[in-house]
């Protein structure tokens, strides 16, 4: 399956008084890493993706992370993200965050493809993931 890797520099404001990254910041990194993975597969930004496929986004229904090593201000960490399963309207993403080549944080997400509920426009409703999206992941994986 297609993966995307990116480097993130740990900023001062991402860290807590213990001098290490405050855990919610890892989820911010992972959230954008998923967006960049989709951008790589589809060749369009998250906003364009939402417009093109009439989606509101890909909110989480489940997430989990294991913290193995801490990261500090100025560290450059590498995040590699992969979709590990596509289902009808949900999919799983795995993130590996490494520092100096060592696994530091492992993250798992289950997300849902959602649009507006036609009955209640202020509510979200899951929708089948467009076949074109899944096809792009398969095609992009064989191209890379």
């Amino acid at each position: 399956m297609l993966s995307n890797s990116r480097a993130v520099e740990i900023e001062w404001g991402a860290c807590d008084p213990g001098g290490i990254v405050f855990n919610p910041r890892y989820f911010e990194f992972f959230d954008w890493s998923t967006a960049l993975l989709f951008q790589r597969a589809l060749g369009m930004s998250k906003l364009e993706m939402c417009r093109t496929f009439d989606s509101v986004g890909i909110p989480l229904v489940d997430t989990r992370a294991r913290f193995l090593r801490s990261s500090r201000v100025g560290d450059i960490v590498q995040i590699t993200s992969t979709v590990t399963a596509f289902r009808r309207s949900s999919f799983d993403v795995r993130h590996e965050l490494t520092g100096d080549g060592l696994l530091a944080v492992e993250g798992f997400e289950t997300r849902v493809w959602v649009g507006r509920d036609p009955q209640h426009p202020d509510r979200l409703k899951s929708k089948p993931i467009p076949a074109a999206v899944i096809d792009r992941f398969t095609a992009a994986a064989s191209e890379s």
Partner: protein, 141 residues
């Protein structure tokens, strides 16, 4: 298990362009809800750490299941308690209720840590002081 309850209001800046809470913010609330829970010992957490020579309770694992999204202005009741005490680890569970319905639930696995005696700059796990375990295990809701 002692359950601590607190009420939060979802602010504008907690939400993302889809109009719902940006989920890492729930993890910020997990952290502060654990702090509020430990205050039920009668001591603020920094004070409690100082008293017991601890450097804190770093997280080793966290998990969340999301059921109902929340939006700007929503009121959330957070219920937190220590579900499990290990040798030096503990599992704090958090439930977020919106109008009485479970909006999300999750856990934090943390380690009560002290400075490593032989390796400066490093930390090690140590059993949670018995008085803290006793106070947070009280069978009161």
């Amino acid at each position: 298990m002692l359950i601590n309850r607190r009420t939060l209001r979802v602010e504008w800046g907690d939400c993302d362009p889809a109009g719902i809470v940006f989920y890492p913010n729930y993890l910020v609330w997990f952290d502060s809800s654990t702090t509020r829970l430990f205050e039920r010992t009668g001591m603020a957490l920094p004070e409690l750490y100082r008293k017991h020579g601890s450097v804190g309770m770093p997280l080793i694992e966290v998990g969340v299941k999301f059921f109902i999204p929340s939006r700007f202005g929503d009121e959330l009741v957070v219920e937190s308690g220590v579900r499990e005490w290990g040798r030096s680890s503990l599992i704090v569970q958090h439930r977020f209720l919106k109008l009485g319905e479970l909006a999300l639930e999750g856990f934090e696995k943390r380690v009560w840590s002290v400075p490593h005696p032989d390796q400066p700059g490093r930390i090690k796990g140590q059993p949670v002081p018995a008085e803290i375990v006793a106070m947070l295990s009280a069978p009161e809701a």
